[in-house]
């Protein structure tokens, strides 16, 4: 569970991560050379995959390092540094056969000893690893059983184990470089990946150079070293400046801010890929322990009072789709019936439910109960599309006599307040790869510590979620997830509002770009025309 929690950190960072669908292949002859310029709003904390907590470092480690196994473009596990693997009948002992033709960027050999040292470093308390340490789960022991065989013994079965091993932060680092560089490793990391670290100019750029020795690429890309000479990650905090730099040709790839999508599409100059975000982009969540939303009738009334399409059209400029339940269609486990099942905009029902709950219009037209007006504060973060959406919801609720005040907090502050349960209701969003995200949002063990901002203690929901994590039969899991989605809608813990479409613009000279369903660009096959 700890690992899934750590993984899900991405969620809260709320970065518009590259979550792409496979792009078509081009068939022209690739030319070597050139420089590919990417951009990030955030600067990595460190480039040590085992010490990092920032999402952008995870992204970069895809290029700098290799993991024992990885996922192909359909999401199936395929060999990477491990040729093959097997697990004992009790699910406790995992054995990996390693490649014997790999070496680290510093020239040191890759073997079972290196893998053991790398994993043990991730697990060591001295490393103080925010994410990497928990990826491996409840490890009892790591043993090199020969030069190219490694066994990992677990204390108990750990379902996300293989999936976690494909996480870039589980990459194998060079134990020799770790020893030689000490604290400096995070500013000059050494892995086995298609690109090697060249330079980090603080707050400006990070430069990776082609690894000419790279012959151990996974089967999703061509076998040899990458074509481009360099990959440069520019760090630019201001999104308007990113767009200007992209239009001037100083950046090769850019995740477009919603305000620029239509304009850049209109120029017809760039290849623009779009895909539905893997997550619910915006939902309103109720704190069920606080008035007035402790009353389910009030929650349901609000869900009938909000007309979501206007929120989508005005708040997000229509760049996405209306959301209905806790999972979006882009995540496996989504139940299609939720669209019909979820409450619809229905002023009559909303009014009736409010009246039933004891809220009557006062002399000024605003609802009141026992002399107290119906007013609450919506907690939200300073994100343009959220703020605009909040204003629409505010005016829609006002028509029902509900007064909603919008309060915006810086993200770190907001999370602290939501955990403490100060809020009556809030705006949130998430990005995740699996339906297991429901555990983070709804399991009562996450109240006060994790993401369970609805503060809803519900043994039925808890047991449904626990069942979904134990069940190995995929068909049965789907049924459980369907029940969870229905139950969350029944309890009106959320009013899901919209899920945005992400847009990635690519310069016309960039060829061979391949995108991975886990949300990153494969650069091995990219070449510049």
């Amino acid at each position: 569970m700890a690992a899934a929690r750590a993984l899900a950190r991405i969620v809260v960072l709320l970065l518009l991560f590259l979550t792409l669908v496979p792009l078509p292949l081009t068939h022209a002859q690739p030319q070597p050379g050139g420089e590919l310029a990417l951009v990030s709003t955030e600067e990595p904390d460190t480039l040590d995959p085992q010490k990092t907590g920032t999402a952008v470092t995870g992204l970069l480690m895809r290029y700098l390092g290799d993991t024992l196994l990885t996922k192909d473009l359909k999401g199936s596990y395929i060999p990477a540094l491990a040729r093959s693997w097997s697990v004992s009948g009790d699910g406790l002992t995992w054995t990996f056969q390693l490649r014997n033709d790999v070496k680290f960027h510093d020239g040191s050999p890759f073997n079972a000893q290196a893998v053991k040292a790398s994993i043990e470093r991730a697990l060591s308390p001295d490393t103080m690893s925010p994410i990497a340490g928990s990826l491996f789960g409840p490890v009892a022991d790591v043993q090199a059983a020969g030069d190219f065989t490694i066994t990992i013994k677990l204390k108990e079965p750990f379902a996300p184990f293989l999936d976690n091993l494909t996480d870039p932060r589980a990459m194998i680092v060079s134990p020799q470089a770790v020893r030689d560089l000490g604290d400096k490793f995070g500013r000059s990391p050494v892995g086995t990946g298609p690109f090697k670290f060249q330079e980090w100019r603080s707050a400006d750029r990070i430069i990776f150079a082609r690894n000419p020795d790279y012959t151990w690429a996974p089967s999703t890309v061509h076998a040899g070293p990458p074509f481009v000479d360099r990959v440069v990650l520019r760090i630019m905090p201001e999104s308007a400046a990113q767009v200007a730099a992209f239009e001037r040709g100083e950046l090769s790839v850019l995740a477009l801010p919603p305000t620029d999508v239509r304009r850049l599409q209109g120029t017809n100059k760039y290849t623009i890929y779009s895909f539905l975000r893997k997550g619910v982009g915006l939902f309103m969540e109720f704190n069920v322990t606080k008035e007035p939303f402790s009353d389910i009738r009030v929650r349901r009334a609000v869900s009938h009072a909000i007309e979501k399409n206007s929120v989508l059209q005005i708040g997000l400029e229509g760049l996405g789709e209306v959301a209905s339940g806790p999972l979006p269609p882009s995540i496996w486990g989504y139940w299609d019936g939720i669209k019909e099942y979820a409450p619809k905009y229905d002023p009559g029902k909303a009014k009736a439910l409010l009246a039933e709950a004891g809220w009557q219009p006062g002399p000024d037209g605003m609802l009141q109960k026992d002399g107290k007006p119906f007013s609450f504060v919506l907690y939200t973060a300073p994100i343009d599309t959220w703020t605009r959406s909040a204003q629409i919801v505010q005016s829609q609720l006002r028509a029902f006599g509900i007064s909603m005040e919008i309060q915006t907090f810086e993200f770190g502050t907001l999370l602290a307040k939501l955990k403490a349960g100060e809020h009556p209701a809030e705006f949130m969003g998430y990005t995740y790869t699996s339906p297991d995200i429901v555990q983070l949002w709804f399991h009562s063990s996450n109240i006060g510590t994790g993401l369970a901002f609805s503060h809803n203690k519900d043994s039925k929901l808890d047991s449904l979620i626990e069942a979904s994590r134990r069940e190995t039969d995929q068909g049965k899991r789907l049924t459980i997830y369907r029940d969870i989605q229905k139950y969350v809608v029944d309890q009106v813990l959320w009013v899901p509002l919209w899920t945005n479409t992400n847009y990635i613009a690519v310069q016309p000279n960039v060829q061979g770009a391949k995108t991975h369903p886990d949300g990153f660009l494969l650069l091995n096959d990219v070449w510049l025309k």
Binding site: A2, A4, R5, A6, A8, R9, V11, V12, E43, D45, T46, K51, G53, P125, M128, P130, I131, D183, G186, R187, R201, S202, A203, D204, R205, R234, I235, M236, P237, E238, A240, A241, A244, A245, E247, R248, E250, L251, E410, F411, G412, T413, L415, A416, K417, L440, N446, T449, G450, L451
Partner: protein, 306 residues
């Protein structure tokens, strides 16, 4: 003179004590915790507790503050929670680009501001005066994040004269320095204009004019020098303002610098780093002001320090 300097430098001690105490309290009283931000929202309670203990964050605030002071006195500002690098190293890396930007902007602001101010004050035609006053109003009112983006759109995207992302080099400095200098120049122009106008009404100016000294000489030799004291005071105060303004300009132009580092430090509740930056900037502020006091004496020989 020496006594004056000693006294001013001794004043640095209570100033910095006050500044560190205020920053320390503000950072610790703001909701949000560096350990949860560092470990992620989903870290287990035991991991959080362990790391808090390792970082000494579980101690009472007073103890934490005293420990910080004890180390700081010995020149050790601790390590950044986010990057795990020594705070000194982080600041040493980011201070020079910010100083270059702030100095360039200061030079631009002083040159442009004083020239415009004197021209406005000495202008024979009221229309010139009004035009300059109007332009300064625009310069004052435009927020830098907006004017910076406009300059990017015009000079980088439309005209293509200057790079958007290139860092280092003089060409990359032009737009950020202009953006940062504009409001400062506007203030200086207004202060200069008012000050020169006042001096021009003094008896000795009338005497100079009566002697037949040319208007040019009257304004630049006799009036300006005496009018400069308030201008200098404002300019010195502005310098610290420029370092603060660099926060926004550095973000808009993607320049590395202390301003952006400070924002990251505060957002990630990186207490040691934020504390270190504030300490450095506050010391700079004090030193600049001591320097200005000394320059007063040069401008006006009547001013003496004992």
């Amino acid at each position: 003179m020496r006594a004056f300097l000693t006294r001013r430098l001794l004043l640095l001690v209570p100033t910095l004590l006050g500044v560190t105490l205020a920053t320390f309290l503000m950072l610790h009283l703001t909701p949000g915790d560096p350990v949860t931000i560092m470990l992620g929202e989903f870290a287990s309670a035991s991991d959080v507790a362990r790391l808090r203990a390792e970082l000494g964050l579980d101690r009472p605030i007073v103890v934490q503050y005293l420990k910080f002071l004890g180390r700081a006195v010995r020149g050790d500002l601790g390590s950044s929670i986010r990057s795990r690098r020594p705070v000194q190293e982080e600041i040493a890396e980011r201070l020079p680009p910010t100083m270059v930007l702030a100095l360039a902007a200061q030079v631009l602001a002083v040159c442009a501001g004083i020239t415009a101010g004197v021209t406005a004050a000495a202008a024979r035609r009221p229309s010139v005066d009004s035009a300059i006053v109007a332009v300064t109003l625009v310069g004052l009112s435009m927020p830098t994040f907006w004017s910076g983006l406009l300059l990017i759109l015009l000079f980088s995207l439309t005209l293509g004269w200057l790079p958007i992302t290139a860092s280092g080099g003089l060409r990359a400095l032009i737009l950020p320095a202009v953006t940062l200098a504009a409001p400062a120049a506007a203030v200086l122009a207004r202060v200069t204009r008012a000050s020169v106008l006042e001096v021009l009404r003094q008896d000795y100016v009338r005497t100079a004019r009566a002697k037949g000294v040319s208007e040019r000489l009257v304004v630049y030799r006799h009036a300006l020098r005496n009018a400069l004291i308030p201008v200098l005071t404002v300019a010195a105060l502005q310098f610290a303002g420029l370092v603060a303004g660099a926060v926004i300009v550095e973000s808009v132009f993607s320049r590395p610098g202390l301003g952006r580092l400070a924002v990251t430090a505060i957002l990630s509740r990186d207490f040691p780093l934020a504390q270190g930056i504030v300490l450095v900037v506050a010391s700079m502020y004090v030193f600049v002001n001591v320097g200005v006091d000394l320059v007063y004496g040069v401008l006006d020989p009547r001013i003496r320090y004992q």
